[in-house]
Amino acid sequence: MLVMAVWEQLPTEPGAPNIDCSVSRSAVAVTPVGSSDRARDRQLLARVSKGDVEALRAIYQRHAPRAVAIAYRILRDRGEAEDVVQETFLELWRRSSQFDSDRGGAIAWVVTIARSRAIDRLRASGTAGRTIASASAGEGLTPLALPLPSDEAEQRRNVARVGTALAALPDAQRETIELAYFEGLSQSEIAERTTTPLGTVKMRVKLAMAKLAALLKEEET
């Protein structure tokens, strides 16, 4: 069964329950973009929903590098990663009117789609977990000094605070999150690969995510 982003798994036909699974007010405190960025994205997405290709291009220019990064990290193949990014922005083009841009950032949406598509490919090819060795060797969730443009200081701060939060996790929890997020492994697969009881893996996921949320909120305040 292929992985699908949460937003696309929910009913969309008229009269369907109004499911709000976007970023909530309290969760916005840990979203990666500033309010001005979100406002700009909101305006662009509104234009995209009306068929404005130039607005799509603007969103692409802002967020495609991150989409390529996450797709490449999961697939380890530039061509496949670029295919995923193409699918991601075509999906955004088709579904932009369904996006609740008042409550979530476009970048979160783009990353979620790209990551889901990449995991779909990974699982379809039966190669999920193929990069575990390299991840275990230290290529995983490590804070990186990125060559970001000087006007993206907020993004630089986000990189630092996410890296700090990850570094604060116990090794086993960090590894579990890494295997799930970047290798596309399910909890059962993680348990098998790491020869860890499934219940322990589930607990590590829960504890790590709760800790990350708390740490990121602390950093924000």
Binding site: I19, S24, R57, P65, E82, L90, T112, A208
Partner: protein
Amino acid sequence: MNRRRDMTCAEFVEKASAFALSALDDIERQACVRHLARGGQHGGCRQALAEAEAVTALLSEVLPERTPPPELWHAIEDRVRR
């Protein structure tokens, strides 16, 4: 797990992090989707999912951004202008 039995809100909240990470097995994931799709009141489900999604979105920030080649945008543009 009984596949026919609806998941409770407490069960969903318990699984929200793994759901947001796409780390659930198929049966559990489908149960989560069905739970979210049902109408009526929820007990913290959306809040738990939103917070987990916010964290997962941030995780990608530790990766170095990769500039796509110009041809990629041209391919997208060709598709949307058809």
